[in-house]
Symmetry: C2
């Protein structure tokens, strides 16, 4: 095929001439083809963009919010004519809005606080250094200023490599370096510096308040809520894909879609998102069901625990894809136990998702874990019985002895399922720590029922959100 296309391309000119009247038509067709391809490419781009916008209304709303905040800040400066232009202080307000406005409330707050603190500290230090430099005479002044810029920039940049500072104050340190350098480069006298610092801080305050007001008042996107939903959806997906792939392997239910089967990959890839959301969530005030000191860092541990389950499911998926020659009789026999265990494990995960979602202390979970343990025991017994009882089906001929190598895939799947059950128990422990630290309430019997029935509904809506996050 490739060779054919090549020949067509090379012989394009001849072919056109051969056509006689077709010369211009063919040329037109070719250029139209190029234009068509361009149009369809651009069209495809916009179509995908449109789908993104429609599927994730939160993101579209965020864009409108940015536009709104910028309009507000520019309106602010239109109202009291400040026509000394971009060089003036107005630009600091605009700049603050553009740079500080983030998708989640926590990220915006984090940047606002960082920007204000960084500017203030650098301003104070800058004025001090300026004063010292002035006192030491005209000859030493530039040397002192240069040296201070060099030393402070070096030290501050170094601090950005320290993980704990990087996680929370990276932006603040950058603003510190920026402000300090600007002050040193500027030739202002100290008295004028004070005035400038006052203007600068007040414009930053204006920009920051506009950002905070816009982000909190109009459809706020809380980092905490996003993290909460992400963890809960990952639990749901993991549970679905565990169920799906075991059922798929044992042919009990072949309708599972590929998307469901690959659900565990979301959990595998969401480490960075979880950590940054947890970092931002710590800046957020109380909102919805979450108090100010909600144990967000524990959520990261739950996420890590989920990921360790996901690793096992990945390995399980891998060993299932091997072309195994397991005798059907055995597969059916074992299938019952494996499917039961996977059902129990995934039920525990689903229940944990409900616990996280309703924020009620788990009541049924101990019972379900007990059921899971019984299923593990049953599977282990099945493995035991395999070596005690004859594993040959009655109709097998003598030459077709079932060798151990034929049950290897079954044994592997079984022991990975047992390992997944063990990790699910650890996950239960991690969720229990969250429930304790966040002081989840005890669930009443009616609520338990309600939670069960509303589970299906809430799940569908939230799946989109977490996908958006993992994009």
């Amino acid at each position: 095929m490739g060779g054919n296309t090549n020949t067509n391309k090379k012989r394009g000119v001849e072919w056109r001439i051969n056509m006689g009247d077709g010369t211009s038509r063919v040329l037109e067709a070719e250029s139209r083809f190029g234009l068509q391809r361009f149009v369809s490419k651009v069209g495809g781009f916009f179509q995908r963009a449109w789908r993104l916008g429609v599927n994730e209304p939160k993101k579209s709303i965020h864009c409108v919010k940015v536009g709104l905040a910028l309009s507000l800040v520019s309106l602010f400066y239109y109202m009291r004519p400040l026509y000394n232009g971009v060089g003036g202080n107005a630009m600091w307000a605009v700049m603050t809005v553009v740079v500080v406005f983030e998708y989640t409330v926590g990220a915006t707050l984090c940047k606002c606080v960082n920007r204000a603190t960084g500017t203030f500290l650098a301003g104070a230090l800058g004025v001090g250094v300026h004063w010292v430099a002035r006192q030491s005479g005209e000859r030493f002044e530039p040397i002192i200023l240069q040296a201070s810029v060099f030393l402070l920039a070096t030290a501050a940049t170094f601090s950005r490599f320290i993980p704990s500072i990087k996680a929370r104050f990276d932006y603040g340190v950058m603003i510190f370096i920026l402000t300090f350098s600007l002050i040193s480069v500027s030739g202002y006298r100290v008295e004028k510096l004070f005035e400038m610092a006052h203007h600068r801080l007040s414009t930053i305050a204006i920009g920051a308040s506009i950002c905070i007001i816009t982000t909190i008042l109009f459809c706020p996107v809380w980092a905490g809520t996003e993290l909460h939903n992400l963890i809960r959806n990952n639990m749901d997906k993991l549970s679905d894909s565990l169920d799906g792939c075991v059922a798929d392997y044992f042919n009990t239910n072949s309708e599972t879609s590929d998307k469901t089967l690959q659900g565990f990959k979301c959990a595998l890839n969401s480490k960075a998102t979880e950590e940054s959301l947890a970092n931002f969530a710590r800046w957020e005030p109380a909102h919805g069901k979450f108090s100010f000191r909600h144990p967000w860092l524990e959520y990261v541990k739950v996420g890590a625990s989920l990921r360790s389950c996901a690793y096992c499911i990945e390995a399980l998926n891998g060993s299932m894809n091997l072309d195994a020659k397991v005798p059907d009789v055995l597969k059916q026999h074992f299938g019952n136990f494996c499917v039961r265990l996977s059902n129990k494990s995934s039920a525990v995960m689903k229940e944990l998702a409900v616990v996280m979602s309703t924020m009620k202390k788990p009541t049924r979970i101990d019972f379900m874990v007990e059921e899971m343990r019984i299923a593990v025991q049953e599977l282990e017994n099945a493995l035991k019985s395999l070596s005690k009882h004859p594993i040959l089906p009655p109709e097998a001929k003598a030459g077709e002895a079932v060798t151990l190598v034929e049950v290897v895939p079954l044994v592997t799947v079984s022991s990975l399922l047992i390992e997944i059950a063990a990790r699910t128990e650890k996950l239960v422990g991690a969720v229990n720590v969250v429930a304790e630290k966040a002081e989840f309430e005890v669930e009443t019997a009616e609520e338990a029922k309600k939670g069960q029935s509303s589970k299906g509904g809430s799940k569908v809506g939230d799946e989109d959100k977490s996908e958006g996050l993992s994009l």
Copy 2:
């Protein structure tokens, strides 16, 4: 213990009174204790920072480079006195240096290009919109300007959610929004705007050139080289930890350190780092062994392939930690085959690391893969023989029949090792694609020997670097 401390705290006052002359002394001791704790805390912080700096000289050098670039840019403005202060254009050069200077050359180049392009496009569009607004009369001017800011900010923010734009042009889009808003807010006439745009672009060019010169001339840190080393070190670590944990399980060598065993976790957690490095590496010019169009995106695929091995090693590690009651005879019997297979697989990984490191076409690899396949076959045969031959040791009593459940851990370990071997073959495929696309040279026999002998030396030095990246 916790209760005890509590009581001490509560009874602190009484105890002091009881001491009689001790009141002031105790107070002093307490405050000294507090001060001591503070000093030791600060000391510990600086100690850790010092260790970070000593262990990763590249990072320390980067900090000095930032200081240098800032000194250079401020020197530039000291030399031709420009005392209209921070509001003037000097600040744009300083700002560019602070914001644009990144750890790797690729990231710096990416930001420079983004900043220049964003400013230029927004400037051109801003001047156009300003002209249109002027033409449409005083009444409509603010409306048109406001509407354009709102619409463009919304659209541009939306484009930042599109993954392909986010990966490469996120910063440029932000600068576009910033510049366009600044121009719209400013009340300049169009003629003055041109002048301002010229000044702005030239100062940005000065800042960007200082950054690029500093970052490339003084100990450059290339994103490509970092990615290259990261992938190679992860291969080494994966290979060591596979070897180590199998040897540990079968007790053939219990000296493996915990750090080596956990080496696979580096590969599990480096996805985000790999992707961002690959994105930055694409901006870099030819350097060292790498040409401009080096297939960096293929490195990401090699990384993904490595991670899929790491998932399996993680599951292997998990199933080894189970308290298994495997009879020693069997363990010894199987140990030989398992250790051999893990040695072969890890040797393949080590060889791939050498291939990546020397950038020579693999010559021995086919042979080693063949050896690995033979080891897989041997292990499978051992599994087969287990069911054919009596697996009971001769000295066992009748009551102690070895049941299948006792070999479950062995079977699981074996089949995970077989799966790891299969994934290692895929890894070989991924490396082969890199070797082909990057046109690795064919290795001569002497070079092969040299590569083998220098392997140990180069590994130790580079391990630090990749750790730094994964921090």
